[in-house]
Subunit: 234 residues, 2 copies
DNA sequence: GCAAGTTTCAAACAGGTGTTTGAAATGTCA
DNA sequence: TGACATTTCAAACACCTGTTTGAAACTTGC
């Protein structure tokens, strides 16, 4: 009836096969996404039998959520959104650090690139794991960013404007992760990923700081014709 | 050996079944992506037999590329990147129009939302169709945007900086398309999609104009500690 | 009406999917 | 050593996938 399992999944990883499966699964899920990854592919790379996944993780979804949880934990420990000593920095410096950290999370060439790709896929094609991910990982980051922006923009700006500005900052960062295939085709001469991390962090920070400093002043350039409805004024 | 096909695919759509298949396929591909869409699902919605796809389009990939080509054509005709009369506008107004057009393309509630989702999936999980899409649809838009930015930022800024600014603008816009599942979970009270189009266009334009106006001046807030390498100064 | 071409259809095909099985191998502890 | 639980394995299961088949149903032009 039900599959045999380890009677109680012990707190520590108990088998080498388990670890090999987790590592291989991270690769394959990052490459193919949850739905298109095959357990036969994962097991081949891990040197394990197909039945190993059901034995160790119950089923494919169980393996996936374990990969996601572990990656999320490792990445947030390695690149914390609120690093020690952040309070002594100016809001501008905190924003610069946030941007750099976030870019590292999604562009770092090693294990973390896989996390960026898996998160990207989760956003475009959510699985059941997204709810937990938002609650435990994404929301704390979002609130951290909005606190920084609040410190920069003052208490008078409505919360909705803070949110919009936060999405503008994060949108710039995620672009390099979500649109990599397009960027590579549009600008083939650009070296991708991590080698440009410094340059990208510098630009996004500069662009965002300039925008935030003068966000309240600019009248946003009235659109050409408001009432002719169509953007093509025929 | 080879499947039977219409001897020469006539220039006009010759059958109602063909149109029904294209419409149903657009829905399903937008919902599930190319790989996870099933021809049985498409055919059921179109009220057609499974063999109809092979008869009318050769195979699943043929159907997909036809959907993509038609959508791209329709959307770019409805929301042109370079609307008539754009030359008489200031660069700032042109940027405002560009932002609005782009947001409409990816957020409009009707047929174009499907196009936005299909494009999103194509970026995250490219198929063979992406090369053609970049050449025919994305690159012209990118060059249009960079021309606007060039006019605003002057001829002295290096092309690489123009590119980065362009990606900052587009990244803000695509965020609302790529991250919709996350946005919905983070801020459930926000009405999604199209009803906020005016507000979003206004914000992205204001944010970008403020950034571009002062992009050269800000020294980008030096990062706290450059040489201690880790963002977590342990 | 009739023949030719066009379009649909139910059924089957070959291959891939996640999952399960029951036995064999391995480890563990007395 | 022997008895026990844990872990692996090849094989099979049931299901789903895109595609093909060959005949039936249409449409068209004479």
């Amino acid at each position: 009836m039900a599959a045999r399992r380890p009677p109680e999944t012990p707190p520590e990883a108990h088998a080498a096969t388990r670890q090999a499966l987790l590592a291989a699964a991270a690769d394959v899920f990052a490459e193919c996404g949850f739905r298109n990854a095959t357990i036969r592919d994962i097991c081949r790379r891990a040197g394990a039998n197909v039945a190993a996944i059901n034995y160790h993780f119950g089923d494919k979804a169980g393996l996936y959520s374990e990969v996601l949880a572990e990656q999320s934990r490792v990445v947030r420990e390695r690149f914390p959104a609120r690093p020690a000593g952040a309070e002594s920095l100016s809001p501008e410096q905190q924003l610069a650090a946030f941007v750099r950290t976030f870019l590292q999370r999604v562009l770092s060439p090693d294990m973390h690139a896989r996390h960026g790709r898996i998160m990207t896929r989760e956003m475009v094609d959510p699985t059941d794991a997204l709810d937990r991910l938002v609650k435990e990982a994404i929301r704390p980051d979002a609130e951290r960013l909005m606190a920084i922006l609040r410190a920069m923009l003052g208490p008078d700006l409505p919360a909705s404007a803070i949110r919009l500005c936060g999405m503008s900052v994060v949108g710039q960062i995620l672009f390099y992760c979500h649109c990599q295939p397009v960027i590579r085709r549009l600008f083939p001469d650009l070296p991708a990923d991590a080698s440009r991390l410094d340059e990208l962090a510098e630009h996004v920070t500069r662009f965002s700081l300039a925008a935030l400093k003068h966000y309240g002043t600019a009248p946003s350039a009235r659109r050409p014709s408001r009432k002719s409805s169509s953007p093509n004024p025929a």
